[in-house]
């Protein structure tokens, strides 16, 4: 029995190349890890639970593409049919080859090109129920499965709208070559196997056999040669694909596997970049989901700065400033990313490089030695432009008889996050240290802030030994503890999730539960993790007010679709931004709570604009 | 530059200047600053057949104290009134002052009395109580430079030299500097008004020179009374002068002509001080820019001996200018007084060219 033919060479070479290249990549990534992460990793791979979890995720995300399914079933099926189908072809192909091949080890190409080497015909009727027939059926079925995905992929390229995608990524040269190969692999396999089956009247399953007979019948010329030609092309495109892989988007497949393992070992992105970030960059499949998720794209028509492009320029070793600076860091793309890349931290890494030489001088700040209190309330800079929020908070705190201290009553010392959003962490830390001292001096057990921007940084960077709450959480707590009794005003309200509170702080339910008690809360189109940014983001650096307004107007349109009496949010910046353009009254949750305290004269929510917006 | 435009303004600020019989009051400081100046005024007035008298018992007008904020206006008015009394007693009615600040103060006082007769009455009472004197207000108040301006053509006719470079035949390039108190307060009291005073321009033009305008022409010389008199402010004073020099330098002036006691003093002495402080000189090849009073210049035009005009006490040597104008002088006699005694020769400055 012949076990070798020249045409297997391209495939085999390609295979050798890609395997070594992947090993080298893995080696480099692991080697470049910081010591701490190396420890985490070695510990991780020795912990079965973590390994299992990784394998599970690799299976669910790498083969089944669960996240993608959730987001877009068509895309999900497409990717699954490709990945999972191909995976099975290899596994089952191997098993099948063993039927004909006793040896324990055999050349990798053997199962791949099995039908070239094995094409015995099954004549007798009962043979249909034999093992080989079973395998042929399965293999043909899988091939069909993959081809269906291929068809979808092809349609997606031509008609991305059908997939509900407004935009797909632009490809570079290697991507195109690799893509062409990828698209050719399975048709070639189909043709090769079919011709072979047709010529030898054997070796094929329900698909290849019948298609083969048909082809041989209708195509003139020596079928054997045609078959041989297709075996060659099949091997060639396979080999070429493997060789192209490291230089194309398809490297994301092996990269993602390692990334998943890293994550499960608890390795985090680093502020100043690391091989983890590099791995993330490599793991991007450039599916383009982030482009669709980006408000700057669909609301303001800016379609050059999205995650996928940031990552690509990163891969090309040069990120233009405007790509790094033009982003609201709202986290929507991060939420949507099927690979779960922490794109915001990647962007911040670049922002830190810009102007990394700059220093701050906050020597003018002098410690005011604040009084002691149980609860320290920090309104935040922005709240000083929406005085109705701190006013409401104080009203409530008094009502609840809390021993509190309004720490930034006479003007805020910024929490530091705005500086961090501009990539100025060094400067931010000076402010953070200063505020930490102030806060600890109050000996308070609880820090409450009205500003999600502050809230996020308090939790992530301050590591204070005390509880930290956003006022929406705190007010709910007060209600539950019975410190304040509320009476619903039965206003129809829609709640807007501020980026830093929702996606940033994972606080979705507290404000809703609270609003449920004092108003008739209506759902809005995009909410929770999918909520839109108000457009006022401090992270958006080099973008004109006009553009920002577009984002705001678009968000308002979606939020006010149900025409509520009040648009409620829990962030002074969101409130200010919306108030500028909203026809509907915009208020902070704290104001509503304050109004809901029985015996207070209720303000009529009829004014077109937020009065505070006029004052400030 | 549209000369027509300036002429038009000059025409609008014609002031009446008496032709003869002047009662002259001196400046407090000029005899020390430029001893020859006032003497020369008398000399050429005599030569031109004009009658000028003065009264040795006249005092300061107190303007210097008034502008240093140490003499109240009431006091100043009474002292001014006394000067007028001296004029009245001498039977004169054309009052001529040597000092610009005095001129400013006299104008200010007269203007005040014009608008507030009761103040004038009060002053008469003060004067009467203090000195028993009575006075008439002058019919004509002029500054000595006004008078010289009026006689500039006669001086030119009688003159032996002109503001012309003998070698090149080109007019000498002159910048004029008018004392702040000349017409800033009352533009119509000065020849040519406040913005483009004509009093010195007229002399320079008629004596053959070329007037050059420069950006900081209007800027104060730097004296500013308080600024100089209080040592703490002196840096401010010299910086102000430097600003003028820096601004005029590109125009290559060959002479600075002034009509105020303070200005020539500071424009002259500060050139030395600046050169010693930072090595900067403003004239061609290390020389300074000679500074003169209109009397000294008139004297030169009329052919008086430079040393009789007191030019030897100038900090910035005038010899280069004399050479240009072709005025002969005896270097040997430079440091001799009227009786031929040696008055001592200052040691040569580090940077400023000295002769």
């Amino acid at each position: 029995m012949i076990k070798f033919n020249l045409f297997v060479l391209p495939f085999s070479l390609g295979l050798i190349y890609i395997v070594t290249s992947i090993i080298m990549h893995y080696y480099r990534w692991i080697k470049a890890l910081p010591a701490v992460d190396k420890v985490k990793l070695s510990a991780g791979i020795r912990t079965p639970s973590k390994v299992l979890a990784s394998l599970k995720e690799i299976f669910l995300e790498g083969l089944i593409h669960r996240r993608l399914w959730k987001r877009n079933p068509l895309l999900g099926y497409m990717h699954m049919s490709f990945a999972f189908g191909w995976f099975l072809l290899i596994v089952i192909g191997n098993l099948e080859s063993r039927v004909y091949h006793g040896a324990y080890i055999n050349a990798p190409y053997y199962p791949i090109f099995l039908k070239f080497f094995i094409h015995d015909r099954l004549v007798l009727f009962f043979e249909i129920f034999t093992v080989p027939a079973f395998f042929r059926f399965i293999m043909d079925f899988l091939l069909l499965f993959v081809l269906s995905g291929l068809a979808l992929a092809w349609i997606k390229r031509k008609q991305s709208k059908w997939f509900g995608m407004k935009q797909t990524t632009r490809h570079n040269f290697f991507d195109r070559v690799a893509l062409t190969c990828l698209w050719l692999i399975f048709p070639m396999r189909l043709l090769a196997e079919s011709y072979t089956a047709g010529y030898f009247h054997g070796g094929g399953g329900f698909l290849t056999k019948n298609l083969g007979n048909l082809l041989v019948m209708i195509t003139p010329g020596p079928a054997e040669l045609i078959a041989y030609f297709f075996w060659w092309t099949y091997s060639l495109v396979l080999g070429l694909f493997f060789i192209m892989m490291p230089y194309s988007r398809y490297m994301h497949i092996p990269s993602e596997l390692l990334l998943i393992l890293f994550r499960h070992c608890g390795i985090q992105p680093k502020k100043w970049g690391s091989s983890f970030s590099d791995l993330e960059v490599r793991s991007c499949s450039r599916c383009g989901v982030c482009i669709d998720a980006c408000q700057l794209n669909f609301a303001a028509g800016i379609s050059t700065i999205q995650a996928v492009y940031l990552i690509r320029s990163q891969r090309e070793q040069f990120i233009p400033d405007h790509i790094a600076q033009t982003c609201m860091l709202c986290g929507r793309c991060q939420e949507a990313c099927p690979v779960g890349i922490k794109i915001d931290s990647l962007r911040l890494i670049k922002r830190r490089e810009i102007g990394s030489g700059q220093v701050a001088d906050f020597s003018y700040l002098t410690n005011t030695h604040p009084d002691y209190a149980d609860v320290v309330y920090f309104a935040g800079c922005m709240s000083h432009l929406t005085p109705s929020i701190p006013n409401a908070m104080e009203g409530i705190l008094k009502e609840a008889g809390i021993n509190y201290l309004f720490l930034d009553r006479d003007g805020s010392i910024c929490c530091g996050r705005p500086l961090m959003l501009a990539g100025k962490d060094k400067q931010a830390n000076e402010l953070i240290e200063f505020n930490k001292t102030l806060i600890s001096q109050t000996r308070a057990k609880l820090l409450v802030t009205s500003c999600p921007i502050c809230y996020k940084v308090f939790r992530e960077e301050y590591n204070l030994p005390i509880r930290i709450q956003h006022h929406s959480q705190y007010l709910l707590e007060l209600v539950k503890e019975g410190k304040i009794a509320l009476q619903s005003q039965h206003k129809r309200v829609v709640y807007h999730d501020p980026c830093d509170l929702g996606r940033g702080g994972n606080i979705y339910e507290a404000p809703r539960e609270l609003l449920g008690k004092i108003s008739d809360l209506e759902a809005s189109g995009k909410d929770r993790a999918d909520a839109l940014c108000c457009g006022g983001s401090l992270a958006l650096m080099s973008t004109s007010m006009l553009t920002k307004d577009k984002v705001t107007l678009d968000a308002l349109q979606s939020l006010l679709a149900v025409d509520p009496d009040i648009l409620v949010t829990a962030c002074p910046l969101c409130k200010k931004t919306f108030s500028k353009l909203s026809k509907t009254e915009v208020r902070d949750i704290a104001e509503l709570v304050h109004d809901a305290i029985p015996g207070r004269k209720i303000r009529i929510a009829a004014t077109v604009k937020d009065p505070e917006a006029v004052i400030s | 530059m549209k000369p027509g435009g300036k002429r038009q303004i000059w025409d609008e600020y014609q002031k009446e200047i008496a032709d003869d019989n002047y009662f002259y009051v001196r400046s407090c400081v000029r005899q020390n600053f430029f001893p020859g100046a006032e003497k020369t005024f008398f000399r050429y007035m005599k030569q031109l057949g004009r009658n000028v008298v003065e009264n040795p018992s006249h005092t300061t007008c107190s303007g210097i104290g008034y502008h240093s904020d140490i003499v109240p206006f009431e006091t100043a008015m009474t002292m001014v009134a006394r000067q007028f009394a001296l004029m009245t007693e001498a039977g004169y009615e054309n009052f001529v002052t040597s000092c610009i600040t005095s001129f400013g103060l006299y104008s200010e006082v007269l203007e005040t009395w014009e608008h507030f007769p009761e103040v004038e009455e009060q002053t008469r009472i003060h004067l009467r109580n203090a000195t028993g004197r009575e006075f008439l207000k002058p019919k004509n108040l002029a500054h000595a430079s006004d008078v010289t301006f009026k006689l500039r053509k006669e001086i030119a006719d009688a003159g032996r030299y002109r503001l012309v470079n003998q070698d090149t035949g080109k007019p000498i390039r002159v910048v004029e500097h008018i004392g702040c108190h000349y017409s800033r307060m009352f533009p119509n009291k000065g020849v040519g008004g406040a913005e483009y005073p004509y009093v010195l321009v007229g002399m320079i033009e008629d004596w053959g020179g070329e007037v050059i305008d420069y950006p900081e022409r209007r800027h104060c010389c730097g004296f500013g009374f308080r600024q100089y008199l209080v040592k703490a402010n002196r840096g401010y004073s010299i910086s102000a002068s430097k600003k003028k020099f820096d601004s005029m330098k590109p125009y290559k002036p060959e002479l600075i002509l002034t009509n105020c006691p303070g200005c020539p003093m500071f424009l002259d002495r500060w050139q030395y001080a600046i050169s010693e402080m930072e090595g900067t000189t403003y004239g061609e090849n290390g020389q300074g820019i000679p500074v003169m009073t209109y009397e000294e210049l008139a004297g030169l035009i009329l052919g008086y001996d430079p040393w009789d005009l007191g030019l030897q006490v100038h900090q910035v040597p005038v010899e280069p200018l004399l050479d240009k104008m072709g005025i002969p002088y005896d270097p040997e006699k430079k440091f001799l007084d009227i009786d031929g005694n040696f008055i001592g020769k200052p040691k040569s400055p580090s940077f400023l060219k000295f002769y």
Partner: protein
């Protein structure tokens, strides 16, 4: 008594009013001292804020005048009053009418009076009117040395809001004129830098502020808050400005190639003359006071004598047109009322 009206002054106010009156069938005679009607507008190129051609506005005003009698080159020497109304005499002839509408307008402040700005002395100092004439002529605006100006300065409030020239009032329209002309110069010389030196920018009417915004955003015109104190001339003919940049609190010195003075309004010679003859009420600012600035702004306080336009103080063209129409309405009412009383 008849329905004759004499309109004194053939500027945009006079023309508009005369047109209205004529269209209402009154017998209108318009007297203009110059040989051409149109007043300032006839010498102006384009109008703020929409850059409309001044000539278009004039043409529109002229349309209504078909059956009004227009006499130009008339020097009025006397006005006498009698029971039939008024007789206006000029060296050549006499005109009688039941009512007089005075629209003798304003003239621009004589920039020369602001000596320290050097108008008429320094070659490259011109007024907004000079600039407008150059625009109208279609020639490129050049420095006196024939070069294209690289840096241009506009000085606001020349002869306005200035105790030193005896005018405390604001001339109102210079601000937006400066902005408009700055834009026009930027269009002509995109490479040039244009600066406006102002005390306040009074963009009082519709679309003015937007024009200011456009000047900054689209044309990069710079605005420096500070009033020119004095300027002098460089040997090369360029001008050195001395002002304060009040927003940084520092004195500022700047060399510019062309300086444009935005001259304010003063009552015209005609206004002063006629007001003497009729004994109109002159305000402290020299402009004519109406019977009541709010409700009777076209009445002079003298029966049969009406007021229209800039003789009552600085106004824009659109305001002048509106005021002239209002005045015309007042005159018509008056004519019909006396017709009634005399029947």
């Amino acid at each position: 008594m008849d329905n004759t009206v004499i309109v004194i002054g053939g500027g945009i106010s006079g023309l508009t009013a005369a047109g209205m009156l004529a269209q209402q069938g009154l017998d209108v005679t318009l007297l203009e001292k110059e040989n051409e009607t149109g007043g300032h507008l006839a010498r102006w190129d384009r109008l703020f804020p929409d850059r409309k051609k001044a000539s278009d506005v004039l043409d529109f005003a002229m349309k209504g005048l078909n059956n009004a009698k227009i006499v130009t080159g008339v020097t009025i020497t006397g006005i006498s009053r009698h029971q039939n109304g008024f007789t206006v005499t000029s060296p050549l002839s006499q005109y009688t009418a039941s009512a007089l509408l005075v629209a003798t307008g304003f003239e621009l402040f004589e920039a020369r009076k602001k000596e320290e700005y050097g108008y008429g002395i320094y070659n490259n100092v011109i007024t907004s009117a000079d600039l407008e004439e150059q625009f109208k002529s279609g020639r490129k605006v050049l420095t006196s040395e024939g070069k294209t100006p690289g840096r241009i300065g506009f000085i606001h409030c020349v002869g306005s809001r200035d105790e030193k020239v005896g005018n405390l009032y604001c001339s109102k329209v210079c601000c937006v004129t400066g902005v408009k002309q700055a834009i026009e110069l930027k269009e002509m010389f995109p490479a040039s830098e244009v600066f406006n030196f102002y005390m306040d920018l009074r963009m009082f009417d519709r679309h003015f502020e937007e024009l200011y915004y456009e000047a900054q955003q689209k044309w990069g015109v710079s605005f420096i808050r500070g009033r020119l104190s004095e300027c002098s001339e460089n040997p090369d003919g360029s001008i050195i400005l001395k002002t304060e940049d009040t927003l940084t609190g520092k004195p500022l010195k700047m060399t510019i190639d062309l300086l444009v003075l935005l001259s304010g309004f003063v009552p015209s010679g005609g206004t002063r003359g006629i007001s003497k003859m009729l004994g109109l009420q002159e305000g402290d600012d020299g402009f004519i006071n109406s019977a009541d600035q709010h409700s009777q702004n076209n009445l002079s306080g003298i029966e049969g004598v009406f007021l229209a336009g800039a003789l009552k103080g600085p106004i824009s063209v659109s305001e002048a047109v509106a005021d002239a129409r209002a005045a015309a309405a007042q005159v018509t009412c008056y004519i019909s009322s006396i017709a009634v009383t005399h029947d």
